[in-house]
Amino acid sequence: MPTAYLRLLAAGFRQQSRSAYANLGGLVTNVFFGVVRSAVFLALYRQRRAVAGLDVTAVLTYVWVVQALFSVVYPTWQWEFARRVRSGDLAVDLVRPGDLWLATGAFDLGRNLSQLLLRSSLPLLGAALLLHLRLPTTPPGIAALLLAFGLAAVLSFEFRFLQECTAFRTPDYRGFGRLLLFPAYFLAGFVIPVDFFPPELQAVARVSPVYGLLAGPVHVAQGMHVLASLAVQVGWVLVGAVGCRLVLARSLRRVVYAGG
């Protein structure tokens, strides 16, 4: 049976790869944001060497890792599952053999890995060459970074899946999504590095479920708190898996009852 999920993962990878460069505009948007934010940080660091433990190289690394990961954290297919729930198309998935959550997750992960490998990595590599980012160069460092990115993709799926399950309960799921999304992104270090947070907020951010989406992989790339970051990611991936299963089981029970 596990081979079936691997097949789904491969299918997701292939599907996304076919359209990897269809949406060049999205890539340009990523690069543009990277350029703007780099310019802002370069200006901020003009008279400073290190702030809150980050030097300018570390901050530029932060900028471009976040740009690379953002399309993974908020992929173009966000809300697809929720739409299937609302339209009733989910019934088709429910009558298929195998586990719905694993199947959805495998396909999603496949798409996201393709996104990472073929697309998001390009601006990051370009910036690494042009701006001398601080990315790991040793085999264990590279392995840790790849692992952190992979875990971010899994966590991203779980995070989105939980949000999209609100579609079982309300047609206004996107409103609730927006409510959650912005604070979550902020806490994950989307707007500024978590290292610039006040100490208390930083302590929360370092162990929060969304840490592994952006800030964790950033830290691994910068070579800071590597093992701690990976540990927090793994921990929340496991918790997220249990959470997703519980929520899905409850939601499906409601659907079955409601459907008579």
């Binding site: 948007t29 350029v35 927006r178």
Partner: protein, 268 residues
Amino acid sequence: MDDLRLAVRLGRASAAAYTARPVLLLTGLVGAALAVGIEVLGVVLLLGQFGRLGGWDVHEVALLLGLVECGLSFAVAAGYSLETSTFAALVTGGEFDAVLTRPLSPLLWVLSRDVQPRELGRLAVGAATVVWGAHGAGVRWTPAHVGLAVLSVGCCATVLLAIHILGAAVTFRTGQGTEFVNAFIFGGATLASYPLQVFDLSLRVVFTYLVPVALTVYVPALVLLDRPGAPWAGRSLLPLVPVAAAGVLGAAVFAWRGGVNHYQRSGG
């Protein structure tokens, strides 16, 4: 003018329709407010660490950010139906046929079909940020200064909406939404919310003269803050602000008309 009045009325009605879904409206309002809130918080924390950005303190930068967010709120609220994938579906699905049978300019009809009231959340926090930033920076709210802020928001909204319209004009020809539009709208808005002097000359020139998002915010802010500004983007450009906004909108409407003609020639 008659058309415009009608479109405003239709737009108001479509926005008011969201009151029938109070949960969606409320979560949307708060969500939009939060979207600005995290940006403001980011600027506050960042400048808490660094003190100044390009010589500007936190209040001055916040004033810029607030003006941009106010402009963005109007542009997004009005341009919601032009959002890339929505509009591409309208064109390729043939729904635009029906638009052409209405006794109203097609552009105004499309814009008025879905006006997003949730952007009021963005506007509220944006305006509060302007007030807070201006207060901290010692701006005195003379009538002229208030007029300047309104002009800035109006022109910024106009430019951002014009980019939306240009994107839609391209969609008539390609049948696809183009994400490039977002690079200019949201990327441009992000760029304009920082003091322009921190950017390269090339970026400054593009976003002042070609896609004048930064011009419409930075230059009025210079006058409000009584600062000279960056080379090629000084406060002497103030008279250019409304001219540039009107020019970009005019170009966008011209391109849109070309797009509609193309649609009528090719059959969608």
